[in-house]
């Protein structure tokens, strides 16, 4: 199983409520994925600044001299710093093996952990977070262990993340090819390979919709993917449509849920255009950069 929730706001006045809306959606998907949960949220970035989401079992006492803005969220923290300092920050973090870089980018923050969705979202304070779009996942593990690293979303590129319901059968083969291309993987998880595949495609200059179209040929298995980029949000189901998906669109937002239950509390849902994304068809929405 597994549950997916995604929200892409068209109306900026809803941005302060994004975290609250997503946390309700994830809560409704608890019985599809009680093992672990996670989410990526695209907040306001600052020009010339980068954000790293870090995870540490032993706190975030950053080295002397590395004075950065650091906001702790339980065992995760988000640091913000000027783009010019990226190499210096990377080097400082490399000397701290207890710290994992979970995600990087200009706008994306990514949090995930083991436990029921309500517990995970509460730990990180999702309810109070704001942003333009967000994707989340509740996991019922099949392909790899129930660990924080195995929870979704997976991020393999700046401001890029992916969540997955299903399982891939050719992930070892694709992982080998991508590793030769310089994509790095933190786990043996199949979903991370799908994220890496899309990151590689985007790195090669493909647009999100082209990358998703190519994934139809290259990735074998069962999948419903929801993908986030700095300005966009994409959906792809495998051609057999093994895994469920329902979408709602209003003048204010586009929402994705594994089931309608996840959408039932969204504002204006009664009047929303509800549809099931077609198998093997790429859907994506992008906001003006």
């Amino acid at each position: 199983m597994c549950g997916i929730a995604g929200l892409f706001l068209k109306n900026p006045s809803l941005e302060p409520a994004l975290g609250r809306m997503l946390s309700g959606m994830l809560s409704a998907l608890t019985d599809r994925g009680p093992d672990s949960a996670g989410f990526a949220i695209y907040g306001a970035g600052a020009p010339g600044q980068l954000k790293y989401t870090l995870r540490s079992a032993g706190g975030f006492n950053l080295p002397q001299g590395l004075e950065l803005s650091c906001t702790a969220h339980d065992d995760h923290a988000v640091i913000t710093f000027p783009v010019a300092r990226e190499a210096e920050v990377r080097a400082a973090l490399a000397a701290r093996p207890e710290i994992t870089i979970v995600a990087t980018g200009a706008r994306m923050e990514l949090f995930k952990g083991v436990g029921l969705p309500d517990a995970v979202t509460k730990r990180f304070g999702l309810e109070k977070m704001s942003g333009s779009h967000a994707i989340g996942h509740t996991r019922m593990a099949t392909e790899s262990a129930v660990t924080t690293a195995g929870a979704h979303p997976f991020s393999t590129g700046a401001d890029q993340c992916l969540v997955h319901n299903g399982s891939l059968s050719n992930h070892n083969d694709v992982r080998r090819v991508l590793m030769r291309e310089g994509i790095t993987f933190a786990t043996q998880n199949d979903t991370e390979v799908a994220a890496g595949y899309l990151s590689h495609q985007l790195r090669e200059g493909k647009k999100l919709n082209e990358a998703l179209t190519n994934a139809l040929d290259r990735l074998d298995g069962f999948y419903t993917f929801v993908v986030g980029t700095e300005n966009g949000f994409g959906v792809l189901r495998d051609p057999v449509a093994c895994k469920p998906a329902v979408m709602a669109e209003t003048a204010d937002y586009v929402a994705f849920g594994s089931e309608y239950r996840a959408l039932a509390d969204l504002p204006g849902i009664e009047a929303a255009h509800l549809f099931e994304p077609e198998p093997g068809q790429v859907y994506f929405w992008e906001r003006a950069a």
Binding site: V240, P244, E259, Y260, L263, A264, L274
Partner: protein
């Protein structure tokens, strides 16, 4: 059953926001064939799974909103109306009665159903009527891929288009499609529309409230080449 509010002697409104789904299904399943409580309205379904499953009394059940998985599963005699969409497995294994969804139905609608009538006013997703065993299904919109996969008996009417691999590995069952068929599945072929076919189709269109005429449809059925193992195919295994 404090939340069950009797509006008249025989009409019941059940609020799923106030009362457990299990008590709804227990109450519906306990109805005898001679019950006076013949009109049930279910409000606030919010996509809940397994609403009104296993009902064996000939009562009218109206669901005001979207239903989740397996709505009206195993229905045996009830008339279930959904004023919304339905999730996976609508009217799965229905035995008799009528299930009418005013919106779209997700995949596997009418799966394995033995009897009764399933009317889908909107579109049906993939695998509509998979392994159907005698049910009549009328889809007023389009039906997704692999519809009537391994269908054994009954009638599937599609007023819109059919997706890939219609009627794959069909045993029997009559398939009627008005629109385009993306592709036929293994052992499914176009057939001549007989007088009997026309009569069956005409009656179903009328029951479902469709204005189409049988002449607008193409009939598909089993070519019956997969009924027996052919030794010439042994090399393929």
């Amino acid at each position: 059953m404090s939340a069950v509010h009797k509006t008249t002697e025989d009409a019941v409104i059940f609020d799923l926001a106030a009362e457990e789904l299990r008590s709804l299904n227990a109450a519906l399943q306990a109805l005898g064939g001679k019950t006076n409580r013949t009109a049930w309205t279910i409000v606030n379904p919010r996509g809940a799974h397994a609403i009104a499953v296993g009902v064996t009394a000939p009562v009218a059940i109206t669901i005001e909103g979207h239903a989740g998985y397996y709505c009206a599963g195993m229905n045996d005699g009830a008339f279930v109306t959904i004023n919304g969409n339905a999730g996976t497995g609508l009217a799965e294994n229905m035995m008799s009665g009528t299930v009418h969804v005013k919106g779209d139905a997700s995949q596997s609608a009418g799966a394995t159903a033995h009897g009764g009538l399933l009317i889908i006013d909107g579109n049906a997703a993939a695998r509509c009527g998979i392994s159907m065993k005698g049910v009549d299904i009328v889809v007023k919109g389009n039906a997704g891929h692999m519809s009537a996969f391994m269908a054994q008996s009954g009638n599937l009417v599609i007023c819109g288009d059919a997706g890939e691999a219609l009627g794959d590995s069909l045993y029997e069952a009559r398939l009627f499609v008005k629109g385009a068929v993306k592709s036929l599945g293994a052992d499914c072929e176009g057939k001549e529309m007989t007088a009997e076919d026309k009569e069956i189709l005409s009656a179903l269109l009328q029951k479902a409230g469709c204005h189409e005429t049988p002449e607008e449809f193409t009939r598909y059925g089993s070519a019956r080449t997969l009924y027996h193992f052919h030794v010439d195919n042994a090399g393929a295994y």
